[in-house]
């Protein structure tokens, strides 16, 4: 049953690794801005195709919102 010492050592090591990862991520400022990355990941990478078309297209753009949506007031 003394295997429990080995198991404890392993489990605590794993836990400490995760804890170190947490401390490191805080230190690098990953939690400083919790909002922008959530928006950034949703942007499409369609810039190139736009450029190829030369920006001359008259795409129908939906403008059905009455006011600019101000995220700034609600989420931060």
């Amino acid at each position: 049953m003394s295997v429990i010492y080995v198991l404890l050592a392993i489990s605590i090591t794993v836990a400490l690794v995760f804890f170190a990862a947490f401390v490191l991520s805080v230190k690098r400022g990953q939690y400083d801005d919790a909002y922008t990355p959530s928006v950034r990941m949703l942007f499409e990478d369609e810039i190139l195709s736009d450029l190829n078309k030369g920006g001359t297209e008259n795409k129908e753009i939906k403008q059905n919102k009455d006011q600019t949506n101000t995220y700034g007031n609600t989420t931060i």
């Binding site: 404890l8 805080v26 801005d33 942007f43 810039i47 939906k62 600019t68 931060i76």
Partner: protein, 790 residues
């Protein structure tokens, strides 16, 4: 044509409509931005958010100071081998489109390598190569697409302060240890008598001990420090019983496992500290895009144009200005130092620094004070005093600015803490004395048990969660508080003092009255056309209200800077400007701003500009007047006295012509027997805002500038002020109710403790239960009362 919205910024296109690419734009600026975006393949800007853009401002020489390498060096974060990194604050960032376009800056100029937006802080960090590019070019590029950076003296003198993340670390340590200790102590909760479990009990116990060490000595350090400081200054704050509880928990648990008396209370100990830190974390809501500490430094420009001995222009930073220097002040620039006017027609807007609502005209050789904004034309001035010795900046030498309002205020929690500590120590002593006679072996056990169970975790959590949640509710209604302490201070307010200019009146002069011989249709049309070409703020507002549709082409147009404009058509002349300019010898009454008009050299009449009171100000006064005293403290002349007396409650005190230091002294005088709320907006209110119990700064654009204060309120929500005050009083009631609730838990816990039956498992259940129920109770209550704001 009514209600055509600009494709770029969404403003009304009524003034000048520009058609381009089958789309409507309100001005050439917006059209240009659209052109830039589409030609760089960035037209998806408009897909992400409709009408996302902001109208670009016109800028000419504003950023010439960025040619000065000394200044650039101080602004950039990194500057090596032809690569610079700069962090710029851009107040206009407001939606996801902004993030998108700003992070695609590299498509607009090949020298920009990366740009990254921090949305909550409203900053952008740009890395660029110096090859045919510079900071100035970057700033101009940003301005041309409507994202003008905000560069001020504050940024320039800012030291690289390290962000304090210690609370997150502490929370991490406590949470980590809490989880692990819980797991290790799980077998003992069930008290199963099992051979293997009994054999390994000491291992688990000592592991728990090891995990609790960093929690007690690192994560809980602040409580010990605060309790120690409190005791030293003979104050029993709430941290005293907390620190006592933590210490007892730790020592008793350690003794328990050393002498094999039990498993100790390590689970409760770590849990308690984790919850306490969670409360602290929740309370620490900050609005990182706002600054509550601004002084004149962030209002002044970084650099000005100096004329050197040879008459050449050069940019120098304003700390280097010396007495005797000649400076050039362009239109819409701020005069940074006290000086004497040498050349040019000064028309200076002092509304922000003195509260005077009307622009002041000055002739050569007259003295100019720092802080005024030149409205039109170029000035040459000679410096009389350096920046830090100027009339306005001297105000910051007053001792109120170094006073800390938080330490001076005893919070509700601390006042409870005192009685609580005395009560707990009393009960502990009584119970110990009783057990000493009854069964002495139990005495120490009971004494520690009382201290442990009475540890006021729930009480300490009630205020942070109530106030923290209220802070968020206020924030949603554009009322931004510096910290939670202010809510408690707000609940005690019984006197409210308002500044006039810019606070209860709007900063834009909107109410325009015409006095004199009425103008004919043709004259109005001619006047409007003439004004159209002028950039003076008064011309612009007058242009907007004149009702005439046909815009004619003028034969001749002249603008006489600082005096007026002149337009000629079909041998008819129209002149608009100051009284002396149109040849009218009316004595200039101090209390009005007016544009005088003459047609064919005949004086016709004048347009009087009045500051418009914000909507709902009357209702605001009525609502506030019911519960507290109101006062007006204005730096302006008493031209509005009659009108104000009409809309204010009868006993209101109205004071005019108040200097910044007068305002401060008046607040100090009131504070002898009142708790004062000061509502202001300008630099001249800074002293009063700092002296008052709570200083609220009103701002039409929260991103721009507001003096140092406790809270910033968006001007559109000024009328909600009574509701905010009411809510803060309600918050204090909620905290009191939570105190009652947590006292109930304490009574139950004390029953177990005093009777000597406190098992670790009871403590482990009771402590988290009381904390969580308090959190739920306060959150529900605050959300419920916050709903009424809508």
């Amino acid at each position: 044509m009514t209600n055509m919205r600009c494709y770029h910024c969404g403003d009304d296109c009524n003034r000048t409509r520009v058609l381009f690419d089958e789309k409507e734009f309100c001005c050439n600026g917006c059209k240009t931005v659209y052109e830039i975006f589409t030609s760089n393949g960035l037209s998806s800007f408009y897909d992400i958010e409709a009408r996302a853009g902001s109208t670009p401002n016109e800028i000419q020489h504003k950023y010439d100071f960025l040619d000065n390498q000394d200044i650039v060096e101080k602004l950039v974060e990194f500057n090596e081998e032809g690569v610079q990194v700069v962090n710029l604050s851009i107040p206009n960032i407001h939606c996801s489109s902004c993030i998108w376009v700003l992070e695609n800056l590299n498509r607009m100029h090949s020298s920009i390598s990366t740009s990254q937006v921090d949305f909550p802080k409203k900053t952008i960090r740009v890395t660029y190569k110096l090859q045919d590019f510079s900071l100035k070019a970057l700033v101009l590029l940003l301005s041309s697409i409507g994202y003008e950076p905000y560069i001020s003296l504050e940024e320039y003198t800012k030291k690289n302060t390290k962000i304090d993340r210690s609370l997150i670390y502490k929370l991490g340590v406590a949470g980590f240890a809490f989880g692990n200790v819980m797991l290790f102590s799980f077998p003992e909760y069930f008290e199963v008598e099992e051979f293997w479990l009994n054999q390994y009990k000491p291992v688990f116990r000592w592991l728990m001990f090891a995990f609790s060490l960093p929690v007690v000595f690192y994560a809980a350090r602040d409580y010990f420090i605060s309790a120690f400081k409190g005791l030293r200054s003979k104050v029993l704050n709430i941290d005293v019983p907390i620190a006592l509880g933590i210490l007892t928990l730790f020592l008793r648990s350690t003794i328990d496992i050393i002498f094999d008396l039990g498993s100790g209370f390590f689970d409760s100990l770590t849990g308690l500290i984790f919850f306490l830190l969670l409360g602290k974390f929740f309370q620490q809501k900050t609005y990182s895009f706002l600054s509550f500490e601004r002084d004149y430094k962030s209002y002044f420009p970084i650099a000005v144009t100096r004329l050197n001995v040879n008459g050449k222009e050069e940019n120098i930073q304003i700390y280097k200005i010396k007495t005797g220097d000649r400076l050039l002040i362009r239109s819409m620039e701020i005069i940074p130092v006290d000086s004497i006017l040498i050349k040019g027609n000064a028309e200076i807007d002092y509304s922000f620094v003195t509260g005077e609502s009307n622009a002041v005209f000055k002739a050569s050789e007259e003295k100019l004070f720092a802080g005024g904004r030149q409205l039109s034309g170029v000035l040459e001035i000679e410096v009389v005093r350096s920046v830090s010795q100027s009339y306005l900046t001297q105000l910051w030498g007053n001792s109120v600015f170094s006073k800390d309002k938080i330490t001076a205020f005893q919070t509700l929690t601390d006042s409870i803490g005192k009685r609580f500590t005395i009560a707990v120590l009393g009960i502990a002593t009584l119970a110990t004395v009783f057990w000493l006679f009854y069964r002495p072996s139990m005495a120490l056990n009971v004494f520690t048990a009382v201290l442990i169970i009475a540890c006021p975790c729930a009480i300490a959590l009630a205020a942070p969660f109530t106030l923290g949640n209220m802070l968020r509710i206020f924030g949603k209604h554009k009322f931004y508080l510096k910290n939670t302490n202010i809510i408690e201070r707000l609940s005690k307010i019984d006197t409210t003092i308002f500044d006039k200019t810019g606070t209860i009146t709007s900063t834009v002069k909107e109410a325009i009255l015409y006095e004199g011989i009425s103008l004919t249709e043709a004259e109005i049309s001619l006047l409007k056309t003439t004004l159209r070409a002028s950039n003076h703020p008064l011309s612009r507002s007058l242009y907007d209200i004149l009702k005439s549709n046909d815009i004619v082409t003028l034969d001749e147009f002249q603008e006489h800077t600082g005096r007026g404009v002149e337009g000629k058509l079909n041998k008819h002349t129209i002149k608009a400007g100051s009284a002396s300019y149109v040849g009218e010898s009316v004595k200039q009454t101090a209390s009005t701003t007016a544009v005088y008009v003459s047609s064919d050299e005949d004086y016709k009449g004048r347009f009087v500009f009045k500051n418009k009171y914000r909507d709902g100000v009357e209702d605001l006064f009525v609502a506030l007047g019911k519960t507290m005293n109101i006062g007006i403290l204005s730096g302006d002349n008493d031209g509005e006295r009659k009108h104000l007396q009409k809309i204010l409650p009868a006993k209101t005190n109205l004071l005019f012509n108040q200097k910044p230091t007068d305002k401060l002294e008046y607040i100090k005088y009131l504070q002898k027997d009142h708790s004062v709320l000061m509502v202001g907006d300008g630099l001249n209110d800074a002293g009063a805002l700092a002296q008052s119990n709570v200083g609220i700064s009103i701002s039409e654009d929260i991103n721009v500038f507001s003096p140092a204060c406790d809270a910033i309120l968006d001007a559109s929500n000024l009328t909600k002020l009574p509701a905010f005050l009411k809510l803060s009083r309600k918050s204090v009631q909620i905290i009191k109710l939570s105190f009652l609730l947590s006292l109930c838990y304490n009574v139950i816990g004390l029953y177990f403790a005093v009777t000597g039956q406190l098992e670790p498992v009871v403590a482990a259940i009771l402590m988290p239960l009381s904390s969580i129920s308090i959190v739920i109770f306060t959150t529900l209550c605050t959300n419920f009362s916050g709903r009424r704001l809508k």
